[in-house]
């Protein structure tokens, strides 16, 4: 198997940066999942797709807009009406779904190469992300597990809160380097560690 190359390579600078003298505000990392798959249900077939996600990925999704379930190995969340993103550490998820989701139920689209997964974690994660996205990151309106689709100008992002102070962002690969650079810049104020 050929390893995927990270789009962040030239700007990837592990270690602590910015104003970290009094502690690191956020930890930034690229999670590099093997599979990122989009599932889209035809209207009325949402339950069938949710069931397929449970069957194939073993992730149980709650009903409701933006509902999701976080996990270390596999995670899934809704990001649009009838649409879900399922992420797996391993490759091959798209093929598995292609077998499990009939065209009468919905479609499977492999985005494993098309999206770059960036994790923002730490006590200042909400603060830093709020510099970019006009969505409410407080836990009341954005609970753990939930997913959101949003945008910072040209950079679309699907965001899942995977822990109280941890967010996984999926951005278009071609924008990933620019976004990462901006993310580091925005994190300097609170001190950040790339790991």
């Amino acid at each position: 198997m050929v390893e995927q190359e990270s789009p962040l390579k030239p700007v990837w600078k592990p270690g602590s940066h910015g104003n970290f003298a009094n502690g690191v505000g956020v930890y930034l990392s690229e999670t590099m999942p093997g599979s990122i798959v989009q599932l889209a249900a035809w209207p009325g077939e949402e339950k069938a797709v949710i069931a397929a996600i449970k069957k194939v990925a073993g992730v149980t999704l709650p009903d409701g807009a933006g509902g999701g379930a976080p996990g270390d190995v596999k995670a899934a969340f809704g990001f649009a009406p009838g649409k879900f993103l399922v992420v797996d550490e391993k490759e091959g998820l798209a093929e598995a779904f292609a077998k499990a989701v009939d065209i009468s139920v919905g479609t499977v689209t492999d985005l494993s190469h098309g999206r770059t997964a960036i994790r923002v974690a730490g006590p200042k994660a909400e603060w830093v992300l709020a510099k970019f996205f006009a969505i409410d990151f407080s836990q009341v309106s954005f609970p753990v597990g939930a997913g959101r689709s949003t945008v910072h100008h040209d950079v679309f992002a699907q965001i899942q809160r995977t822990a109280p102070t941890q967010f996984d962002l999926y951005v278009f690969r071609s924008f990933a380097r620019s976004f990462w650079t901006a993310l580091c810049h925005a994190s300097a104020e609170v001190g950040y560690e790339v790991r």
Partner: protein, 997 residues
């Protein structure tokens, strides 16, 4: 000890000395000082020069409304002009300078403008400078000649030219209640709302929240008001659900309770901390707003009211109580209301000498009379100040008996020596934000002020904002407003106790004393009472005409103090009431906002960079990059010493004779999936797609609804229900939105899913007669021979272990393939292809060579598909299916789109074999001296190594019928003219034998 600093008192930190310079002189101040308070403490009274007449000006106010004392702050080579000294906290190393003076603040040659006073009245520009009707200065030239000198004299501060080194940041915030203003009302509101558990943001423009409590010298809840405020702030800060934003000016009230606020994070320091922004721009989306923005005191209008030493009474009160500064030795007070008596009391307490209190009212409240008695000095009721004396510093005032009902002056004037005159014209509630989110403000005769309008958004007001005058009232209203904003029912509590000083809030309805001399309404713009009357005389009577004709209220203070006095004078001239003259709607921003902070959300670059998976390889291999929208694409891979033309000619030749590789990852790619995908494509493309076999690709053309060409590209059928559409790089987003709209709004019954997969795939086109050999050398799992992979066929296989999908299609006109692989494998596969191609002499090629080959083939791109061309214009009518309707089919045959005179695609061959430029025009007859009668223009040109000459594509009027005729290229912009032949756009291999081979 500074000369004017009181021995004790104030909320400054006397143990911390701050050193700074103003106009090159070193001064000291204390922590907690503003530049204005620190300079006043040092005995400085001259702060700046006015805009038009360059009159010497001091400091009028103590806050955001300051019109006069504007300074420029220098930090290294970076300049920040027009900062009110009243809002600038001093810090060690601060360097400030005065503005609009030459050579110095003391001696300013611009002051000569004062001599032209009557000539330079309102509107004088419009009446002159028209110049002669004939001759070298006719038309508008005389004005431009004069304007040259006018511009030299214009402007206040000077902007820097150095790139800004500081950071600016943007922050999104969400809350339930935003409280604007942290005075007594705001603090109470924040507390009441926070007690209900909702999310509260409390913003205040000063460094120390507290508002009037910081300088009122009252007691609240048994302690000094300032201590009560500090205690309340401490309490609020400790709460999880409260965010305090000091030094934050809420400046804009936008739709749906979206408010904009500027936090001056580091303006009070020499340099921001590491990573810290200088300014932070907050966008606050809130459920409700409490407006506790207080009120601003207004000046009175009388001759000489702009002399340094004339200050607002409340400002002096603040300088004394908050900063421990006595801005004079001998004080006089001139007022139309009771509030100035508080300032008198403060001065007396701090050791100032009160020379006189001049009250233009005959009858005043007992409380005021009592204070007047207490503070000493003469008490002239029913009197007015009619002039001031002194040069660059007040030395005395002239006072005369005054009837506050008729405005008539009588008796002899008398002189009173004083070096500081406190003036008060009553108070205007700070309703700017409310006006942005409400109807017209409401005039109160009693308070002689505009009160908040009826709300059109969810806000509630409290305190001085509502026209309230007492701290006790502010506390009560603040509490009630906080509860209401939090959605809680009204509830009475025991409010903190405040002493009632018994002063009367109602001013006399007099804002101007009509006496001889220049009486300023708008201090910064030098608009006088006579200017307002002149505007009236010439018919500029509506408030907007008044503002525009005189420039009243258009200065950096935005008329905060001049608005009501200006209206009052106009109302008087018209014999009408103030509200009949009109009210002003306030627009954002409430106070000036830095461009840097507004631009902050872009984080440095205006747009992100969009990079293909092979970007780094291109850079490492000598590519010159080229912007294509947000993308960066290789233009050429020049060898040492090569020109652009040499490089693309070499690259083109290599492809035509051997093989080359180009990065096509930027093409838009859309996954079109679902049982109705074929039907959908039939509707959106002009040609048929439902009949396309699985494993095949087809070139498609899309029109807009209006029948003009939208985009073109190939679409690949990967499975029965699975298509991969490609679009041009430039139109990827537009096509996606077009398709989504149709699917979601027009044909929701179709089961089709669209997903942007542009970033999923890396694409490399390998082209040239030897391209098949290169593939054969590295492709596994399938074959690249003509049988397995015919023209427009698709196969899947692997290259060096990475899965690939290959379609045989050609843009260059050669035998060619597009190799797609996962983006994360892009460089891996690219390098494998380069390696496999090495024995065949493969070269990477860029957009220039790509463009050359497409011109040779007569393919169209963005220069031809320019939003104004039809399929027929581009000779693509063969793609218009007659078997089915498609988007654009109904509109494409309108008379204007099919008749004569359409610009049609042709080829152009310069007959002098010299290059022509894109954008050059085509004419039938050449007029180099007066170019005219264009019949079209060149869209693209290149040197064709294949044909051995320069060639071009052009859009020419009725071009099809002109083939074989001569014309001229006319490019006066670049001074290139010459004969050309109009030919077919197919220059090279028109039958397509090479790519089918």
């Amino acid at each position: 000890m500074s000369p004017r600093r009181a021995v004790s008192g104030g909320r400054i930190d006397r143990l911390r000395t701050i050193r700074f310079t103003f106009d090159g002189h070193s001064y000291t101040g204390h922590a907690g000082d503003t530049l204005a308070s620190a300079l006043l403490a040092n005995g400085v009274t001259l702060f700046g020069r006015s805009f038009k007449y360059h009159r010497p000006r001091g400091v009028l106010t103590a806050g955001v409304e300051e019109p006069n004392a504007l300074v420029t702050v220098l930090s290294g080579a970076v300049r920040e002009p027009n900062i009110p000294a009243t809002m600038l906290e001093v810090y060690d190393g601060l360097i400030a300078e005065s503005q609009n003076r030459f050579p110095s603040l003391e001696y300013d040659v611009g002051a000569i403008n004062q001599l032209g006073g009557k000539l330079l009245g309102a509107g004088f520009y419009y009446k002159t400078f028209m110049g002669p009707v004939i001759g070298p200065l006719k038309g508008t030239r005389f004005w431009m000649f004069c304007e040259h000198f006018i511009r030299r004299a214009a402007g206040l501060g000077r902007a820097g030219t150095e790139r800004e080194p500081s950071r600016y940041e943007r922050m999104n915030a969400f809350c339930d209640v935003l409280v604007v203003g942290a005075g007594p009302a705001g603090l109470m509101a924040a507390k009441a709302a926070a007690d209900k558990g909702v999310r509260v943001i409390l913003a205040d423009l000063d460094a120390n929240p507290g508002g009037s409590a910081n300088w009122s010298d009252e007691t609240i809840d048994g302690m000094a008001a300032a201590d009560w405020a500090a205690e309340t702030v401490r309490e609020l800060k400790a709460r999880e659900n409260v965010r305090m934003l000091p030094r934050t000016t809420v400046w804009g009230y936008y739709d749906n309770n979206t408010l904009a606020a500027l936090e001056r994070v580091a303006d009070h320091k020499l340099a921001p901390a590491k990573g810290e922004p200088r300014h932070r721009q907050w966008t606050i989306r809130t459920g409700a707003v409490v407006l506790a923005t207080g009120a601003l005191e207004r000046p009175l209008v009388f001759p000489g009211n702009d002399r340094p030493g004339v200050m607002l009474a409340s400002a002096v009160e603040r300088y004394v109580n908050q900063y421990g500064v006595l801005p004079g030795r001998k004080f006089a007070i001139f007022t139309n209301n009771d509030s100035a008596y508080r300032a008198a009391l403060a001065l007396k307490k701090a050791g100032g000498e009160i020379a006189a209190i001049v009250d233009l009212r005959e009858k005043i409240s007992p409380a005021a009379r009592e204070i007047a008695g207490k503070v000493g000095g003469a008490h002239h009721t029913g009197h007015a100040v009619i002039d001031t004396e002194g040069g660059k510093q007040l030395t005395g005032i002239k006072v005369q008996r005054f009837d506050d009902r008729t405005g008539v002056l009588s008796d002899d004037p008398r002189n009173i020596p004083a070096d500081c005159l406190l003036i008060s014209g009553g108070w205007s509630p700070t309703i700017h934000l409310a006006s942005q989110a409400g109807l017209n403000p409401v005039w109160s005769d009693e308070l002689q002020a505009f009160l908040p309008p009826q709300a059109t958004q969810n806000w509630v007001g409290a305190g001085g904002f509502n026209g309230g005058f007492t701290t006790a009232g502010a506390l009560a209203e603040g509490h009630a407003a906080g509860l209401k904003a939090a959605g809680a029912p009204a509830a009475a509590i025991e409010l903190p106790a405040v002493d009632d000083d018994g002063l009367d809030p109602k001013p006399a309805p007099v804002l101007e004393i009509k006496a001889k001399g220049k009486a300023f309404v708008d201090h910064q713009h030098d608009v006088t009472a006579d200017d307002v009357r002149l505007a009236h005389q010439e018919g500029f009577v509506s408030v907007e005409h008044l503002k525009r004709y005189t420039t009243l209220g258009m200065a950096t203070d935005q008329g905060k103090s001049s608005n009501v006095p200006g209206l009052a004078i106009m109302a008087d001239a018209l014999g009408k009431q103030i509200p009949e003259v009109g009210t002003t709607r306030f627009r954002p921003p409430f106070a000036p906002v830095s461009v840097g902070s507004l631009a902050a959300e872009r984080y440095g670059d205006i747009r992100p960079d969009r990079l293909t998976p092979m970007h780094d390889w291109h850079l490492e291999n000598g590519a010159t990059m080229y912007g294509a929208g947000l993308w960066h694409r290789p233009m050429i891979y020049a060898l040492p010493g090569e020109t652009v033309e040499q490089a693309y000619v070499r690259e083109t030749k290599t492809v035509r004779e051997g093989v080359g590789l180009v990065d096509v990852s930027t093409l838009g790619k859309i996954a079109v999936q679902g049982p109705d995908a074929g039907e959908f494509l039939d509707r959106v493309y002009t040609n048929m797609f439902s009949t396309l076999a699985v494993g095949k690709a087809r070139y498609g053309l899309m029109l807009r609804e209006d029948g003009l060409v939208l985009d073109d590209g190939t679409t690949w059928r990967l499975g029965q229900h699975d298509f991969l559409m490609t679009t041009t790089t430039a139109n990827a987003g537009k096509v996606m939105q077009h398709l989504e709209y149709l699917l979601d709004v027009v044909w929701p019954e179709l089961k089709v899913q669209l997903t942007s997969v542009t970033d999923q795939w890396a694409g490399a086109a390998i082209a040239g007669p030897k391209s098949r050999d290169v593939l054969a050398a590295c492709l596994t799992g399938t074959k690249a021979d003509n049988e397995t992979l015919p023209f427009m066929g698709i196969v899947r296989g692997e290259i060096d272990g990475a899965p690939v999908m290959i379609c045989r299609l050609s843009f260059s006109g050669e035998l060619a393939y597009e190799v797609y692989c996962g983006a994360g494998h892009g460089t891996h596969v690219w390098e494998a292809l380069m390696k496999a191609g090495k024995p065949f002499g493969i070269v990477p090629y860029g957009l220039e060579a790509l463009g050359t080959m497409r011109i040779e083939k007569g393919h169209v791109t963005g220069a031809e598909i320019d939003g104004r061309t039809t399929a027929r214009d581009l000779h693509l009518d063969w793609m218009l299916s007659k078997k089915k309707p498609f988007v654009g089919s109904a509109m494409m045959d309108r008379e204007g789109l099919v008749g004569e005179g359409r610009l049609q695609l042709v080829g152009i061959v310069p007959l002098n074999n010299r290059p022509v430029n894109g954008g050059a025009h085509i004419v039938e007859e050449l007029y180099e001296d007066g170019p005219r009668d264009s019949i079209g223009h060149v869209t693209a040109m290149c040197y064709s190594p294949t044909l051995g000459k320069y060639i071009a594509l052009a859009l020419v009027k009725d071009g099809k019928s002109r083939r074989g005729t001569r014309a001229f290229v006319s490019d006066p912009l670049r001074k290139r003219f010459g004969p050309v032949e109009i030919v077919s756009h197919h220059f090279y291999d028109p039958e397509g034998n090479r790519m089918h081979g």
